[in-house]
């Protein structure tokens, strides 16, 4: 099978359209960021508290809101978690803005939220642990201590296994929220085991699946660090490409990658996705991907310059893009499919992450022929216009140090 045999498209002739398109995309992103007074930073970067609560039945956001207000919690938002693969999830995120420095302030928000939930939705029992928050080790500890199956000293492994079964039952069959310990009889726990668990655990009709508390100092430090580290990485790439090709190529590649990151950030703003630490990892992935794509084309240009000494530089670039076109489309298409699957099936934790990659792969592929290559061509033309040489615009005028 072969999709692309001989293509002969004039890519560089359309450079103006590409620049205009990029300008529009960048402008839209910048406008959106400006309109929203900056990007939507997740808790990782702005500090604050997020409590992720999963309910056994669809929760009433109003009840939760009233409960929180009664506990004197202000400045919070409640966001129901909805998911393409699971549109009716019984999950909400309670976000709380950062109030102050210090350990007490950090803890206060979380404690107030937990108190409010317990007050409105059924309380925990003093001296017992929340079964829905317990991991296998906590459960097996209790079982070993109580030994409901009278297994004696060698019971450790058996109880560890049982605890794992119970946790799997809770998380898979009950979506992480077990409302009654008696239900565990469905997961091969006998009456004695359930009674032993009841001594140490309570259940309620919600489970805290995730709590994140980030101090404001950490947030700004992380933001600074992410930017600095990315700039270092870009600098490293620039030097390497300049060493292997010519400095213009390095500069063009880095500019193109910059362009990709900016457009992706703009789309994050337009679609109201939050920037979190995992999104940074996705942005780094996109930087790597876009750079890879650009280098493949540059590499071909370098090779063709030796083969087509008499041709104008523009033609060489066009030829190189055309020659690598089938590879570009195949690779991008396949990688795009991969991240699209991740975007659809990856669950809410991976949503923003895979969005960055879906966008990034499209933009990263486009920028290789739409931005990086035209930039090199533009620079060459500008240099040749300045020169009085008779061999204007030919490959012979373009020295390449290394091949």
């Amino acid at each position: 099978m072969n999709f692309f045999k001989q293509v002969d498209l004039d890519w560089m002739g359309k450079a103006k359209f590409f620049f205009a398109l990029s300008f529009l995309l960048l402008a839209a992103g910048v406008a959106s960021i400006a309109a929203h007074h900056g990007l939507f930073y997740g808790i990782d970067f702005k500090g604050g508290t997020v409590v992720d609560v999963r309910f056994a039945t669809p929760p009433s956001v109003d009840t939760i809101r009233n409960g929180l207000t009664q506990q004197g919690v202000n400045n919070f938002t409640i966001v129901p978690v909805s998911d393409i693969s699971n549109p009716n999830s019984n999950e909400v995120l309670i976000n709380l803005e950062e109030k102050g420095e210090g350990s007490e302030a950090l803890d206060a928000g979380k404690t107030a939220i937990l108190n409010a939930l317990h007050a409105t939705l059924g309380s925990g029992e003093a001296g017992k642990q929340d079964f829905n928050a317990a991991g296998p080790s906590a459960i097996s500890d209790v079982l070993v201590r109580k030994d409901p199956l009278s297994l004696g000293a060698a019971a450790g492994d058996r109880y560890t296994q049982l605890a794992r079964q119970l946790v799997t039952f809770r998380d898979k069959n009950r979506g992480g929220v077990l409302t009654n310990l008696n239900d565990l009889s469905a997961a091969s726990a006998n009456a004695a085991t359930i009674a032993a668990l009841r001594d140490s655990f309570y259940t309620s009709n919600f489970a805290i699946v995730n709590v994140e508390i980030v101090g404001p100092k950490v947030g700004s430090e992380l933001r600074r660090q992410a930017v600095v580290v990315t700039l270092y990485a870009l600098g490293g790439m620039l030097v390497y490409i300049a060493f292997r090709f010519e400095w213009v190529y390095g500069a063009a590649a880095v500019l193109a990658v910059f362009h990709d990151v900016l457009i992706t950030l703009g789309l994050f703003s337009i679609f109201h996705f939050e920037i979190s630490l995992t999104v940074i990892a996705a942005l780094l992935t996109l930087v790597g991907y876009s750079m890879n794509d650009t280098i493949v084309i540059f590499d071909r240009i370098r090779e063709n310059m030796r083969l087509m000494r008499r041709e104008p530089f523009k033609a060489i670039v066009n030829r190189s893009i055309n020659q690598t076109l089938s590879r570009t489309i195949l690779t991008s298409g396949l990688t795009f499919l991969t991240v699209l699957v991740l975007f659809i099936m990856g669950g809410q934790v991976l949503r923003a992450f895979s969005f960055a990659l879906v966008v990034g792969i499209m933009v990263g592929t486009y920028s290789s022929f739409g931005i990086a290559a035209p930039l090199v061509v533009a620079w060459n033309q500008w240099r040749d216009q300045g020169a009085t040489s008779a061999v204007t615009g030919t490959a012979a005028g373009n020295k390449l140090r290394k091949t």
């Binding site: 994140e212 990485a233 990688t335 099936m345 992450f353």
Partner: protein, 541 residues
Amino acid sequence: MSSNLKWKAVFIIAVILVCFVGLIGIPDAPKSLAVLKSNFTNRIKLGLDLQGGTHLILQVQVQEAVSQETDQVLDNITKALRDKTIRYDELRKLNDTQILVHNIAPEQAGTARNLISDQFPDWDITPAPGEPSGYLLTMKASHIADIQQRTMDQAEETIRRRIDALGLTEPLVAPYGQGEHEIIVELPGEGDPNRAKSVIQAGGQLELHLVVDSTPYSSEAAVMAAHGGVLPPNSQLVQGKSSASASGLQSAESWYVVDRVPVVTGRDLRSATAVRSTKNIGFFDVDFTLSTDAGRRFGPFTEQNIGKQLGIVLEHRLQTAPTINGRIDDSGVIEGQFGEQEANDLGLVLRSGALPASIKYLEERTVGPSLGADSIRHGVQASIVSLLVVMIFMVVYYRLSGVNAIVALILNLIILLAALAYFGAVLTLPGIAGVILTIGMGVDSNVLIFERIREELRASKAPVSAVDQGFKRAFLTIIDTHVTTVVSALFLGLFGTGPVRGFAITLVIGLLANLFTSVYVSRVIFDWHLAELPREAELSI
């Protein structure tokens, strides 16, 4: 098959075997499939974001240790100057790292300077600006860095001992970040951070100070009023413990004026245990014993100060201020109206040694076990589906050569996972991003090579030379793309923390593995296939 090719095949099989051993151990018998599976899950360590658990980042207030050192030196200099009967007006701590000596008698200035530079080599002495015979003592930067490092090491060690005492599975305590004096604590599978936090938080900074004023004050202002706005020299203000306020009611404040330098600190403790209180029935006290060395200091000190109060200061809060009734050599009791658990934990904290400085929480994350499981399930499902899509496409598009690409991809993943297992690296969500980029670039390498081979075939080259040229030409490109990405990943790994580093590590391993599989292994398979192929046959690509 030529012998050259044979050796290459042996090498590849050896690599695969090493990887399998890394992932599942040496299979001793076919029956132990479950053992192999559990070996696998044990060797691939999952990050907290995938496994669930508690993650804390705390900052050690190292400046406190520096300040304490300055207090100690101030005390020692006072003694040294007194021993040599050097006269001066005032010796004062200027800030955490500087001490000012006012007005040394001019004829003794030389002696004083020599004395200080001899006995306190970690301090620089310079004439104080604007004062003819005043001197400024500044702690050397190298010494400050030393103290900070020591404090960090000690804090890390202490926290590790305390966390270990809680008996959780595989806790992690490690330095974090760059030069911000942060420590990361990770408790896999622990859904409730509170007990761990309170044990760490307890700080256990125990200090015994002589109380200067026998009656406590109700506010800071009252203290200042009683002393005419200036605290007595070498004394400090300490707030008393607020009585239990579960109801949230603000209890009455109490303030004490105590000696600046503690007689005994937590470092001098030999043991500490919770005991039933004899005074407050139903509550618990903590008994402590001092080391012999500290006892030698404590004995004479208590003898000299009979009738005075001794403040027991825990975490900058004065717990009790018992009156010294007689000489005490090596034991004491903290009466704090503790509950049993509280007293036990306090005993644990004191036994495990005091934190050399207090700590501040910067970050707390608790990932519930079910969320982590969700992420894994979704991630694994998505990866499998997308791998299948890629594989099917490769076979349809490149026919037999597509199989080559699939072998390379799968081998790449196996090597990547095995390397993670060998290095004990942790797989996190950002790490999975690195894996995705690795797969993307792996596919890309194969596509680059295959497209190149097709081009050569179109130029009517024979299969053998087309494969040879295709690999040679594509190799240049592949090296450039890989080196560029590895360069950037190295920067991310060196300067990044946490998630960024996790991404970089998997990416570097994945790319190196990819160079091996897409170029070397794939080439060997091609060569082997070509050797079997009849001379006129076409290459299936």
